[in-house]
């Protein structure tokens, strides 16, 4: 259709940016049948979650299985884990920008887009955990009363939203420039990329400080918490990206090179061992010392006074982590796809349990008065959690859908109409 005038004319951004948005919208909503099936499925799950949340707001959080004893549950567990996933993308940014790995540079946006989707999920998980989401504005600096810098939660609000904005800017700018056919000006993105590396570390550090700063909760009150969070984030994030890259190759036929995948595998080989070392270090300190400060760890790993609701969870996590470590370290991890995919899936699941339910819930069991009240999520909590995951996956799918054609130059210009059928038909077969 309309060809944009030559770059030398430098058309106004007021004209070209809406065109970029329109084109992105097209890319986001066009695809083969498998794409529609996938999106419809996600929408359905999201709607179930939205409905469960609306009911929870209307009738109260009595619909969850949380209590005054275990006052945070599945939502905050998933929130904590997703901060780690958002962090993981930085393991692509560092090789790409600090070590000038060219091939990683070409695909680094997969990690930055994942960060966006993950942060969106984080914000949703915190929102669904609020008893009064209608009072959300009390948290907005200037409008409400923002207890900064004393409350670590206000720090988290700043770093999470900041990280979201940073990645939106970096991805948005690069895609827009590629859309215009111009070379991105490093001045407009490199400083932000460098900042995002530091910032990525900050989001998980601050999130760990939420918990480890609480003197009344000995299970969390450990200086190792923030480093442990980072180590496991650098396992779960790359694991998710590796699986995504294989999926894009297989399902969407995007010609992704092997190099970045191998780089990520090599990174995880180190981080997964650091993570296991930290777990061992923490477990040793707890059990060798003994005493009532270690009751939560006892409850988590072996059960306490006949209560053992989390024992199957944590041993599943440990099994996943150990299997993943062995698979990643095996030479086949660099050559056989199924080995890597299995390793990634195991590592991802292990981290989800260990840093989710395995971290949040034992902090409350036994309670500060040493009462034991167990917790297992309710159906409402599972629905809302699934809905949030579905929404996050939708965001990531759409982001990839927009980014990949623009980046790979498969649809380099503006004749979307002509390309529509071609792009629609090819991957479907």
């Amino acid at each position: 259709m309309t060809r944009l005038s030559m770059p030398s004319d430098r058309p106004s951004h007021w004209l070209s940016y809406p065109r970029f948005v329109g084109r992105s919208l097209r890319l986001a909503t066009d695809g083969p049948r498998s794409f529609y099936v996938w999106m419809t499925l996600l929408t359905a799950v999201f709607l179930v979650g939205a409905n469960a949340w609306a009911n929870q707001v209307a009738h109260g959080m009595i619909l969850t299985n949380m209590t005054d004893h275990v006052s945070w549950g599945l939502y905050i567990a998933n929130f904590t884990f997703m901060v780690g996933v958002a962090d993981g993308g930085v393991m692509m940014v560092i090789p790409a920008y600090l070590y000038h790995d060219r091939r990683m540079h070409d695909v680094v946006i997969l990690g930055e887009l994942l960060a966006i989707a993950a942060i969106v999920m984080c914000l949703m998980f915190v929102t669904v955990d609020l008893g009064r989401p209608d009072r959300f504005w009390h948290l907005i600096p200037g409008l409400g009363r923002f207890n900064f810098p004393v409350s670590m939660l206000t720090w988290d609000v700043i770093v999470l939203n900041g990280y979201l904005l940073l990645n939106l800017h970096i991805c948005g700018y690069l895609l827009y420039m590629r859309f215009l056919g111009r070379t991105p000006n490093p001045r407009w993105y490199l400083p932000f990329v460098m900042l995002s590396i530091v910032w990525a570390i900050s989001i998980h550090t601050v999130t760990a400080f939420l918990y480890c700063g609480l003197g009344g909760r000995p299970f969390w009150n450990s200086a190792l918490l923030a480093p442990r969070f980072l180590a496991s984030a650098f396992v779960s994030g790359p694991a998710f990206i590796i699986i995504t890259m294989f999926a894009l190759r297989r399902i969407a036929r995007v010609p992704l090179p092997d190099g970045p995948i191998q780089t990520l595998v090599k990174i995880v080989r180190v981080t997964i061992l650091i993570n296991l070392l930290m777990v061992v270090s923490e477990v040793f300190t707890e059990f060798y010392t003994g005493g009532t400060h270690t009751s939560s760890a006892h409850y988590l790993f072996f059960g306490l006074h006949g209560f053992n609701g989390l024992v199957p969870w944590i041993w599943t996590a440990i099994a996943c982590n150990v299997v993943a470590a062995i698979l990643f370290l095996h030479p086949a991890a660099l050559s056989r796809m199924w080995v890597v995919v299995l390793a990634c899936a195991a590592a991802f699941t292990g981290a989800w349990i260990e840093k989710g339910m395995g971290l949040i819930v034992p902090g409350f069991i036994p309670s500060t008065l040493h009462e034991i009240v167990e917790y297992a999520p309710s159906l409402t909590e599972w629905k809302i959690t699934a809905g949030t995951w579905a929404f996050g996956l939708m965001v990531y799918t759409i982001a990839l859908k927009i980014a990949i054609p623009i980046l790979s130059g498969r649809l380099d210009g503006y004749d979307v109409g002509a390309d529509d059928d071609a792009s629609g038909a090819a991957p479907a077969s």
Binding site: N51, A58, H59, M61, R135, H138, G144, L153, L214
Partner: protein, 312 residues
């Protein structure tokens, strides 16, 4: 152009337009389904008035604002609970710092304080909520791990002592530090309060408190009109909204008017002592000066305004 294609969605229009039409239909269906999914929120929209939504933080309310807020809350209690109540807003008495002490040699775990708190503070009836928990402890240990809060037998049991725990009104309250919206703070007379109309319900304070002093309203409290205590305070025992955190406030609607906390008045053993630590002639001052008192979890540095002691 797009509109046209959406409205005339005949297959004869060809591949592109049919696809566009399908997309339009899909988007419409999705939007409609979303509206249906979040329909339960309308329930909230009906009960939440603009005044309540826009209400400022307690410390930012002028005297006039406060009057309007209290009148509105009284009217809401009348319409929702069918009870005529008076909601006051007593401020701290200058030169007062309230402190509590419990004599563990005398306390026999009868639980009258728990019950009195439940009634005084208009707690939810079904859940039997209260700000006080009593630990039954074996003599010879101070390790709460050995305590039991759910004992169901005549008291006092042999070789047991009883330790009631409620908000310790810390001078360094971790719950106040962590609140992201300053919905909870320490008043001049030492009482840590919550603005129930400002709390967003994140429950970070509940995680931070080392004494299990905070409670969350998992649902709107249910109290029969006849059982509602009509003597209420904005920062104390008025009926709390759903989805916010609450805690012991040393019955400030009573104590700031010169009365004693309900838990103390109900105690049949005389184990509880309450008063102004700044008053040199007060009972509480005598106890702190002459008894060997201790505080819970002193190692955490929370500096409680709540003390325990033994006679012998």
């Amino acid at each position: 152009m797009t509109d046209q294609q959406t409205t005339i969605s005949l297959p004869v229009l060809g591949e592109v337009s049919r696809r566009t039409a399908m997309k339009g239909a899909g988007a419409t269906l999705g939007a409609a389904a979303f509206v249906a999914a979040i329909a339960p929120l309308r329930h909230l929209g009906e009960s939440l008035t603009a005044d309540e939504f826009m209400q400022r933080h307690y410390k930012e309310l002028s005297a006039e604002d406060k009057r309007a807020v209290l009148a509105r809350l009284e009217a809401e209690t009348a319409s929702e609970y069918g009870a005529e109540v008076r909601i006051g807003d007593l401020r701290p008495i200058p030169g007062t710092k309230f402190v509590y002490a419990i004599n563990l040699s005398v306390c026999n775990g009868n639980g009258a304080c728990v019950e009195a708190c439940h009634r005084e503070n208009n707690h939810d009836r079904a859940t039997n909520q209260s700000y006080i928990r009593v630990l039954e402890m074996p003599k010879g240990t101070m390790d709460m791990e050995q305590g039991n809060t759910t004992y169901q037998h005549p008291v006092p049991a042999d070789d047991r002592f009883y330790m009631p725990v409620q908000c310790q009104q810390c001078d360094e309250p971790p719950c106040v530090d962590v609140c992201p919206v300053e919905a909870t703070w320490k008043e001049d007379d030492g009482i840590v309060v919550v603005d129930y109309n400002w709390c967003i319900g994140c429950r970070y304070c509940e995680a931070a408190c080392p004494y299990h002093a905070r409670r969350f309203n998992w649902k709107a409290p249910e109290v029969p009109a006849a059982e509602i205590n009509p003597d209420q305070g904005y920062l104390s025992n008025r009926i709390r909204p759903q989805g916010v955190v609450e805690k012991c406030h040393y019955c400030l609607h009573r104590t700031r008017a010169g009365r004693l906390p309900a838990c103390l008045e109900a105690c049949p053993t005389g184990a509880r002592v309450f008063g102004n630590i700044l008053d040199p002639d007060s009972d509480i001052r005598w106890i702190l000066e002459h008894k060997r008192v201790y505080v819970l979890k002193e190692d955490l540095g929370t500096k409680p305004s709540f003390f325990y002691f033994f006679d012998q």
